[in-house]
Every structure is written in C-alpha cells, then in structure tokens.
Chain length 498, copies 2
Amino acid sequence: MEFKDLEHYISKRQALNAALTLFAWDQDTEAPEESVEQTSKYVGTLSHELFELITDENVKNILLDLQLQDLPLEQKALVREWLKDIRKLEKIPSDKYQLHQELLMKAQHVWQKAKADDNYELFLPYLKQIVEEEKEFALYRKNNEENLYDVLLDDFEPGFHTQQLDQFFDMLKKEIIPLLQKIQNATYTIDKTYNEKDYDIDKQRIFNHWIAQYVGFDFKKGLMKESAHPFTTNFHNKDVRITTHYYLNNLESALFSTIHESGHALYEMNISDNITMTPIGVGASMGFHESQSRFYENIIGRSDLFWKPIYPRLQKAFEPLLDDVTLQHFIDGINKVQPSLIRTEADELTYSLHIMVRYEIEKKMFEGSVDYHQLPTLWNNLYKEYLGVTPSNNSEGILQDIHWAGGSFGYFPSYAIGSAIGAQIYAYMKKTVPIEQWILDGDFQKIKDYLKNHFHQYGAIYNTNELLQKVTGEPFNPQYYIDYLKNKYIQIYHLINE
Amino acid sequence: MEFKDLEHYISKRQALNAALTLFAWDQDTEAPEESVEQTSKYVGTLSHELFELITDENVKNILLDLQLQDLPLEQKALVREWLKDIRKLEKIPSDKYQLHQELLMKAQHVWQKAKADDNYELFLPYLKQIVEEEKEFALYRKNNEENLYDVLLDDFEPGFHTQQLDQFFDMLKKEIIPLLQKIQNATYTIDKTYNEKDYDIDKQRIFNHWIAQYVGFDFKKGLMKESAHPFTTNFHNKDVRITTHYYLNNLESALFSTIHESGHALYEMNISDNITMTPIGVGASMGFHESQSRFYENIIGRSDLFWKPIYPRLQKAFEPLLDDVTLQHFIDGINKVQPSLIRTEADELTYSLHIMVRYEIEKKMFEGSVDYHQLPTLWNNLYKEYLGVTPSNNSEGILQDIHWAGGSFGYFPSYAIGSAIGAQIYAYMKKTVPIEQWILDGDFQKIKDYLKNHFHQYGAIYNTNELLQKVTGEPFNPQYYIDYLKNKYIQIYHLINE
C-alpha cells in the first residue's frame, strides 16, 4: 500500500474535524440561545462520523502496512499518531463511548448549575460516574506496567509519567513556597489599584487588537472575537482565531489574555504548509502549546523590556487613567504576587501551586479509592497548605474549573509543564540570540521566525522530549523555570538583601 | 422498507449540509482573508461527502421503495424531493462536482477582488469556466425537449419555464416602462436628499436591530451581522441568521435590507418542528422565499401604515437629521422612483427591470455562445435600454452581483416572481383579514401567525403553484402585481389626473 491510499481519509478526517471546530467556535462566540439543542444533533452526527472514520478497518490496515515502510518523516509521524488514536478509541465499545459523551454533555450543564448554586453534592454523582467510566476506558488501553493516571497523562503530554511529574512538582514546592513566603514578608509592597479604574471597553478593544498585531498575530490569517473564557482555535495555518474577554474594572485581564492567546495562535500560524490540514499539523503537545502562550504572556509580556517602548502608547490609549502610573509602577503591578483562590486569575509565581492541588486530587481519584464527599475538604486543605488561603465555598473551591465535567483528567499538569518548557527555551535563546534586544525593539517578526524555524513548523512530528532536545539540546529540565522565577521575583520584590 | 431506514441518512445529510452552511456563513461574515484557499478544500471534501450521500445507491433503493407506499404527507414530500435531487446529481461525476464546488468558492473570492478593483478581466476566466461546467452539468440531466436554461430555472422555481417567464417579463415591460415614463414626466417630484445626510453607523445598528425585532425577528432564535451583501441563512428553525450593510450616507439601504432579510428569516423560523432539520424543512421555492422578503420590505415596509406608528421613533433615533422631514415626505422618499445602476438599491418599481437585464444575459450564456469580453458592453446596453442609465465602470455594472460567482444561474428571475407572489398573497389577505389594521397596529405577531398557519409551516411540502393555490385559491397570477404597482405609484405620484 502507498501513502496516497490514506490521503482521501486524511482529507475527510480533517474536514469533519474542521466542521466540528467551526460549530464549537460558533457556539462559543455567537450562536443564538435557543439553537443549542437542535444544533447539538448535527454535532453528534458529525462526531459519530469522525469516530467511525478514525477507527475504520480499512484505514487501520493501510496504517499498519505503512508503519512497516520507510517513509518520509512527516508521513511516519502521521501514521504513528493515527495508530495511537486508534489504540485510544478502538477498544471502547461504541455504545459506551456514545453514552459517555452524553454524560459529559449533561455533566457540564449540571456543573454550571452546581457552581452557580454552590452545590457540590449536585455535581458529585456526575464526577464519580465520569471518573469511573474514564477509568474503565483507560483500563482498556493500559499496558501492564502502567498506572492508570499515566494513561491519561500520555494523552496530553506523551512521554510524561507520574514519577517525572512528582519530581517536578516536588522541586516547585521546595522552591516556590519559601519564595512566596519571602515575598509575603518583604518590606517592598506593590500597589495595583490603578488596574481597577474604569477602562472603557471600546478603548480596550482597540488596544488589544493593536497589541495582538504588535506581538505578531496576523489578521490576514486569523481573527479575534470575544467569549466568556478566552481561547484559541484553528482550522489550518491560515485561519487561527483567538478570543479575549473585557472587564471594565480590570485592564490587565484582557491584555494578558490577548497576549496569551496570541502566543497559542502564533504557534498554529507557524505550522509548515506541508503538514497543516493533517492530524500532525498541530502543536506538539498541550504542554508545548502552553509553553508558547506563557512565553508570550509572562516571559515576554510581563517584562519591562516589552513595555518600555509601548507603555506610553498604553497611557495615551486610556488617558488620563495611567498618567500618574510610572512604567516601573506598572511593571510591578502586572507582576504583583497575590495568592488567590482562582486559578485563572493567579499571578505567574503562584499559578503552578494551583495546578499542584488539582494534580494531587486527580492522582487520588485515579490511583486509589477516594471518598468523593471528602474532596472539597481535601481541596481546601491543599489550598491552605500550598497557597495559604482557604475557599469560603465550593464554587470558588473544587467547583471552579469545567475540566472534570468535560472528562479532562491529566490535562492540568500540562499548564505547569508549559511554563517550565517556556523558561527552558527562553534560557537557551538568551544564550544564542539577542532575544532581549528583539523584545526591546519590538522586533516580533524575528521572534516569530526563530520559533518557526526551530520548532513551530514541525507541529506534532516530534514528541515533547524529542522536540525539547532538538530545540535546546537537552530534555525537559525544570531547573530553568525555577531559576527564572527566582531571579525575576528577587528583582521585583527587591529581595537581594533580605 | 420503512421510513425509519432513511432516518440515519437524513441526519447525516442535514449535518453535512449544516456544516457547509456554517462554512459559507463564516466566509461571508468573518473568515480571515487568506483562509479561503485552504478552507475551500474542507468545503470541497464535505460537499463531496454530501454528494455521495444524496446519490447513494442504498438511499435510492429505499426511496424508490418508499415512493410506492402510502406515507404521511411530510414523508411523501421528502421522498419526492430527495428523488428529485438524485435525478439532478446522479449523472454528474462526483470528482467533477467536487472540483466545481472548489471553483465556486475561489471564484467568489476572486469576484470580491475584481469588484473592488473594477477588474472584470480578473473575473472573466472564472465566469467562463463556471458557465461551461454548469452547462455540462445541465446537459447531463436535461430532457430532450427542454432547453438548457429551463433546466436551471427548474432548480429555483419548479414548474416555471422560459416561455412563461418571457410572457411575465413582457407583461411587466409593457406596463412598467410606460408607467416609469409617466412618473418621469410627472409634475409631482420627490426630494430625498434627507437620505444622504450623515447617519451615524452605531445609531443605525441600534435602530436596525430594533426594527428587525419589531417585524418579528426572534433574537433568541437568530442573529444579525454585517456583510458586503445582505443575506439570510439558516441551520434549522431555531437558528436563522441575517446580515445587513450600513452606509453612512444612505439611511434607507440598511433599513430595507434588514426588513427584507427579516422577511426571509420569519419564513424559516416559522417552519414546523416536525420538518425542520429535514430536506423539506425549507422555503417552498426561491420565488416563494423572495415573496416573503418583498412582502415585508415593500408591501409592508414601504407603506404609510407601517411607518405611521414608528416614524417618530426613527426621527428621534437620528435627531435632528429628520426633524424637518414629515412622515408624508419620508413615505414619498422611500418610494421615489429613480432608475439606477445597482439592483440592490433599486426602487420597488424599477427592480424587475434590473432582473430583466440579468435574465437576458443568462439566457444568452446558456442558450448560445457568447463572447465573454463583450458581456460588460451587453450589460451596459441593456441598462440603457430598460432603465435609461449607463454604468461608468464594471463594478457598478456586470460585477455588481455575487450570484454568478456562486454558480447561481436561473436564480434572478425568482426575485421578480417573488414580487408577484407577494402581491397576489397580499391581495388575498386584504379580502379575508384586516391586514392593514395589523400593520398600522404594529401587530406583527398576527401577521407572523397568519403566514405560519397558511403556508410557512409547510416548508417545501408543496411546490410553488400548489402552495399558491392552497393559500390564495388560484395559481400564479401576475396581474395582482401589475395592479398593485399601478395603484401604488399613481397615488404616490398623484397621476390620477395626468
């Protein structure tokens, strides 16, 4: 058999996938209120078609044959990834899969209500059933030596296991918690009340569109809208879409959401033409994707190098609200450390502590038996232990994220892995190219080109560790992240003599 | 076989169709500039899938079996329409069909550029190729006695042929051109310079959203955006979308586009729940659809009854621009007869003359051989002959409409047929219900209910003539339209004694 026997199936898979992506985009940004129920039938039908296609017997036979052949790199990767998808899906009885999808849809509605009403008990039976079914599905495909949670981790971060993550999080715990305590005891304090003034939404729209373009988002190959929760989606490398969300009394929120999503978008826009519109024409992994969004949002976007040339423009855009806020004051403000209850509002330093809470609980759910009634208490205790704060209710506690209601377990760690990958790449860039000068000069084309040439173009041809090795000459090494955080916050909080 | 054997195929057909509709909607309202070429491959693939499904042998066998059975009305109609689709498509090789769909998507993009740059030569090769392929497809399915253009007419207005249309247009020519001349010689003249003042776009947006709602558009089941050319699209009866287009110095344009598209939308929103999301859950024909948009836009929307209660609101919305324009002056203005170059901006009386230009050219393209380089001249000559005006460039001449770029030939006549159907239905309503009082009272729920009960609910269960017979007790009779126009314009232009 030849690779071209597969091409018809690739086209169909990508077209169905693009249609589903477009329905989701539409639903999240503009579809009318009463359309959902009927439109979800279309989505169900198309999802079913896609499932059938991915696990199609003919496709599998072609792939198994191709797997033995000496193929070009891209084709080899595509065959490998598709076979992986088949292994993930084929042992799940299709009726059970269908029922599980229905459960997830219902669970997300119930979760919304539970969160709104601060009623964990309402969500509990759904959470329990989702975990049980996810366990069952993971069992179908687990190797003998694997533990169950590793099967899930592998979906988002191929090659990462519990053992490696435990080490990573232990390192963070050991370094960040003491650093956080130092900051909380520092004599230097940061005021950011300026951020809560009335920032006209239309002016925010104009500035955010400008800043997306400034960091390299190409509006000929993408667009920007608004949604409840900011996200990025894409159809191919010439159609990448981001959303942001504006708040009158929070200037930062939209700004850093926009830069974050632009980072995701630049990755997708940089995927090579010869793999876009194929299953490997996407980011290498969740963590690698998140590394790019966080690279732009935090490493670049919260630096003084970044704001030095453009801060006057920000001041002018919202005149006179920032007239008496100096650049230094603004940089301090956007880096203020403030342990909080809500992950999505966390500062750069404490973000990974939020992830650790979820990681601990997910491991418990998948590795042992857990009393679901005790989970809120466990959540609250971990927040107290890691962040020093305690939720006053479950809505701002265990019910805050939609992920579990959507059946996503093993996904959260990638957020922290992404931060570490971003820091590792930045450290390498500092050694080899004048990245700091590029940022100061606003020369984002150079940054975009560097990232494209060194790894964006490859999409999912390589896995996380292979790609890191290729880009930085070494595998995943979180020490760079620790060093980055320490250096940054020692400087921000003038801790050098404390 | 049973009808339920078909249901799986109906779901798939509707889901693929909805996906294609969504891609088109996206492309027309927001997709990024450079996305078109790659996205058109998805569209090609999905169109191919849809084509394969519609012409599937299993489906055909089920349909042929069901055709002989005694089925409920809706099922019978669905079987009839699907078999008609099969007859339309089955002789076209599927690869050719897919390439044609991709051509159309590209051609629409090229047309946009050609129109913007006044560059007909850029569009010419696309137009030529589209017509050649459409001819080839029409040849596959034409009966011996049919001429080629009749094959296309039947797609939009089943049962209408060139002969009947020639008669209809001759009637219009005979009646409208002399009426137009009388109006142009009338002593009563109408000033509408007020329409060209600076009407703030944001204020127009607010007013147009309001007026859509006023005539019955339900924003829980639909939404309104902006596009170069206003249009309506729908996914089912709970998701119907319209667009409009705002001009700073033309208040009327958006207003009547909005009312027009709302008329289309109300039809789709009124389709019965038991046929929405099936192939017959759509308007009965293009002409019937257009009859509803024109009924709302012209018969209702340009009447004094309609504006009497709401004109003060319009004045207030654009204060002080309309302060010295009386209701009578405004009504005269929106009915001013002014032969122009642009179809979509045409007044109610001369609109069908624009259609006649296109009808003549389409007949030439499909019935004989035509020199495509000469088409702009032909276009300009016909405008001179019918309307007494000549385009100064091709953007306002032959490039003005997107239809041909989208492969729609035989479609334009339905606009004129629609006007005539609208007038026929209105004449019947005036005899049987207090429609004028409903309009004056702004009681659009009653109008919407009437239309729903009498025919909207039925979708495409009946064809144009059956439905007209059912609604008004007689088949297509354009005399009502002639009478309507004569009465209206004699009054507007005070021609009674001239």
